[in-house]
Symmetry: C2
Subunit: 587 residues, 2 copies
């Protein structure tokens, strides 16, 4: 049987008179002046079909049985729509098909929600009937964009002589940081494989094997307590290169992003991308992934108050804290009530409070002005440029925390004021990360990136003495305030790797048990190497203008890692459990 | 630091005089007439480096410390090799680099085997040191070919408007046929995800969602008792299409194969590919995946012996068996001893014995000639074309088993005689498979392809009455005797799917429990659809001319699913086990 000669997205006025056959889903139907109009939808578009009782009465009666989402094949002649009935907004809006034959290929129950973007559907219902949700135009377009993104990424990397290599999904469990998803072995009862949190060790080993430039678009798995918009399985563009330093890897990543923007957006990105050190980013934007679609930079005012009589500030300065804030010319947009909201918000972020000033009619006003000296008041005015309508929002407290609070406040204000709206995308590198962060939970230093990250050569001597001041040869790529990629130059010498493990409180025995195979590989001619990994889902989300990575994943899971459509996870049979030599503990 | 200006695979005579810098591994070194020659290897090739004590004595002494597989960066001037020392077989064979600077980037222990194709290394050692094994030229080239194959496949499918969509790896366990690999859930203790045996249900649901043409190159997992050259995780090119019949899917697959052969082999394949029904393939070649690089077709001689006096044959015919065989003009290649070997071989394949004849000097000879009538002898001679030197090998017995034995014998003979050597690749379709096969083990009919395969419309009425005669709308693609792809038109109507499940002995309750989500999807406007899946590893293996899929997988596992390099599977910590609410059963 021939199902169709054309898709629903291609027939135009110039096709008038052709006899065609289309397949698709009944998007809508309306009986109108004795004629039945069907909008037929497929992946490619929508075409209007007309059933006329005068033209073919039996066919018309058959068509009257059609309901939304029925699947049909329709044969008929392309005709121009009557004057005034044309739809200029769609390619097929000039024409309609006069039906001559109709095959109902499948019926449909009434869907639990209409297949329209505008319908607000409960998340759980959408996920359960994901195949219906995916018929909605925006969701469909998101996945088509994602498909194009795969293509552009792979083409760009192939053009740069990267070799695509698949690494195993069933690997050794080497948890360090996040929890592994585990897979029990049937052949070796009581033993387990792990699903990769990333192909990090394998890609390093591919460099030892001499592949020079590797990439893969690959699923990764982390069994974490899910935060908002995390998925237990996610997709990564994984890249590794030999005989390179930071600049080489960053150049490849920039070329990749330029290809993506050129192909999918028709836009040029800056060349090279701006770069900020971690310290600069924290000091100016209170974030290691600042959104620079708007400036709104943190102002440091501590020095103004070094001899202040205002107790709250004096105390902070005595405790080596800072006084810093944001100012913006939007004074009239903040009522007292809104300022109270802001205060509440910074408290949630961890600050003790928010101090605000407004500069209006040549006067600085605000609840604490009365506690400040004239000199202090003048300095504040000077800072803001003495522009009428300025509002100044200050936070005082411990250095790092205050910066992070202001980073959060900065995003809140930008959202409230729409500062990022219609701004060009902002992409930049953050470099010179601290190598370590102290984990209160584990009471030890943890690798900020991962334990294979190379310290800066000039810092190697400080590994034992001042670990907190060691910077890593690591870099993150930030797009509109989202970390979309992160990477580093790796340790390629076994001895340094051993030292770093020790510094991380990983004993030689544990290191050997978990990473012995990598350490051994480093002893057989490992080249200097480094790489980067892009979060594919997040990148697709930003390019699609979506709000959640769930919107660009075909079959996402809920925040508690449930698959509502197929009902996974689920109980398994006793036989399956017994095959694996496992039993389920009773509570 | 700049590591290199060129790779080891590009400098030629025309580059003479350039100062260049290369990186790579010391492939070999030889002290020769006071000069030290190093062959430096990277992914791209090998370049000869010369260290001369007269030119730079300190550098020469440093170079003397180099050993095989050390990683170095060398700077120097490109010079022409002396006359007679040039190697025309390699691009870089005209030149050498006069070293001016040497950086030892990393040392290497002495590898457990030399990095040469010719070295025969024990499989376990190769897998343990896979990063060294992968440095060997053939292995490296295999993975580069595999990388090109990904690219060609994806380009060809994108060009045909397929959408690339990723399906979940953590899905519901729905074992039917092979065993699932399972992943315990931490959030829902006692419940499990399964790794996909294939994305079959998801790709069908993507058709219900309206994506029309889907593809993915995807890992699949089967926890089977591993047969030779199977891997617990393997890669599949997964394709599904809507509004199609068999011809449409086969055309897409043929276009794909033509792209692959055009791009990677510079060869044209037949258009369209030849097709054989399952019944024809079995009858003529004793196999559902016949290697047609050579003909060697099964001859059916049962009719000749319908009134035979030869007891062994008469008995077989009485039991409705067949007498069939192969004949080939290679009589002088088979000594009595070799014929004994053949007999032994067919016995292993399950036959009672092998009967041979030789036609030589106008005479039919062989151990059972004396039992045959003149008419029977003449008929045998007639069958073979009465060519001197013909040998005839007959097997008698039950129909299906005899054909399979002859299929096995056919391959054995082809291997022995090198019949496939230097023949053009043979690609063909096998169609009209039986839908079911009876499983002695499960004492029920099992789906030969999978339970979603559509029966031929004309056979639907026989589902209940003669299930063994129902043919499926299924097709396999066979390349050089390997099944490289298999697919089918799927059931797109819930009611027929329910009937097929019942016929497979799957109760409504079990069907609902395992496949309820698919059945529900079929009720909301499922289009007619079908697809195909290619075994990517096997395809890469054939294109690489390799003997095993392990040769085209970066990090393969052993036959018992061990990863010898990283030592997976392994014991996990008590904390990990306890997180999952599992305990390991004692024997």
């Amino acid at each position: 049987m021939i199902y169709r000669t054309h898709t629903c997205g291609e027939l135009q006025g110039t096709d008038e008179g052709q006899v065609v056959q289309l397949c698709g889903w009944v998007k809508s139907w309306r009986d109108h002046g004795g004629l039945l109009f069907i909008d037929l939808r497929d992946r490619y578009g929508v075409t209007q079909i007309v059933f006329s009782p005068e033209y073919n009465a039996a066919l018309y009666r058959m068509a009257l049985t059609l309901r939304n989402e029925f699947v049909v094949s329709v044969k008929g002649k392309v005709g121009l729509r009557p004057q005034g009935m044309q739809n200029k907004d769609m390619l097929t809006g000039e024409i309609e098909i006069q039906a001559e034959r109709l095959d109902i290929l499948n019926k449909s129950k009434t869907p639990p929600f209409e297949i329209l973007d505008e319908i607000d559907v409960h998340e759980e219902l959408k996920l359960k009937y994901r195949y219906l949700d995916l018929r909605r135009p925006t969701n469909k377009d998101n996945l088509l964009l994602r498909s194009d993104l795969y293509k552009v990424v792979r083409d760009a990397l192939h053009d740069q002589h990267f070799v695509e290599i698949e690494t195993p999904y069933l690997m050794r469990s080497t948890p360090e940081g996040a929890r592994d998803f585990l897979v029990p072995s049937r052949n070796y009862k009581g033993q387990f494989y792990a699903l990769p949190q990333s192909p990090q060790t394998y890609k390093q080993i591919l460099m030892v094997a001499g592949f020079d430039r590797y990439f893969q678009i690959v699923k990764c798995f982390r069994d974490e307590d899910l935060r908002k918009d995390r998925q237990p399985e996610f997709t990564q563009i994984d890249i590794e290169m030999s005989f390179v330093d930071e600049q080489d890897v960053m150049a490849v990543a920039e070329n990749l992003m330029r290809s993506i923007y050129a192909n999918l957006r028709g836009q040029k990105l800056a060349d090279p991308f701006p770069r900020l050190s971690y310290d600069e980013a924290m000091r100016n934007y209170g974030s290691d992934k600042p959104d620079l679609r708007f400036d709104l930079r943190i102002q440091h005012l501590t020095n103004i108050f070094s001899n202040t009589a205002f107790n709250a500030f004096a105390e902070v300065i005595n405790n080596k804290g800072i006084i810093a804030g944001l100012h913006l010319n939007a004074g009239d947009k903040f009522s007292r009530k809104q300022l109270d909201h802001l205060t509440e918000h910074v408290r949630k972020l961890g600050a003790k409070g928010l101090i605000w000033f407004r500069y209006k009619n040549g006067q600085l006003e605000g609840p604490v002005v009365k506690f400040l000296s004239e000199n202090e008041i003048n300095k504040i005015i000077e800072y803001t440029g003495a522009v009428d309508g300025e509002i100044i929002l200050l936070v005082a407290g411990e250095d790092e925390k205050t910066l992070m609070v202001l980073g959060g406040l900065r995003l809140y204000l930008a959202d409230f004021l729409g500062l990022a709206d219609k701004q060009p995308d902002s992409i930049l590198w953050i470099t010179d990360f601290p190598m370590l962060e102290f984990s209160e939970e584990e009471n030890r230093y943890m690798a900020r990136h991962h334990p294979f990250t190379c310290p800066r050569p000039e810092d190697i001597g400080r590994l034992d003495t001042e670990p907190e001041h060691v910077k890593a040869r690591a870099y993150d790529l930030v797009l509109n305030g989202n970390e979309i990629a992160g990477g580093s130059i790796r340790i390629h010498q076994a001895e340094l790797q051993r030292n770093v493990f020790r510094m991380l409180g990983i004993s030689d025995e544990e290191a050997e048990n978990k990473f012995g195979f990598l350490m051994t590989a480093l002893e057989y001619g490992a080249p200097p190497h480094g790489g980067i990994a892009f979060g594919f889902d997040r990148l697709a989300m930003i390019l699609a203008g979506a709000d959640s990575i769930r919107d660009v994943i075909a079959f996402p899971k809920t925040a508690s890692a449930l698959s509502l459509m197929d009902g996974a996870p689920s109980r398994i049979s006793e036989a399956q459990l017994s095959d694996l030599g496992l039993s389920i503990k009773k509570d």
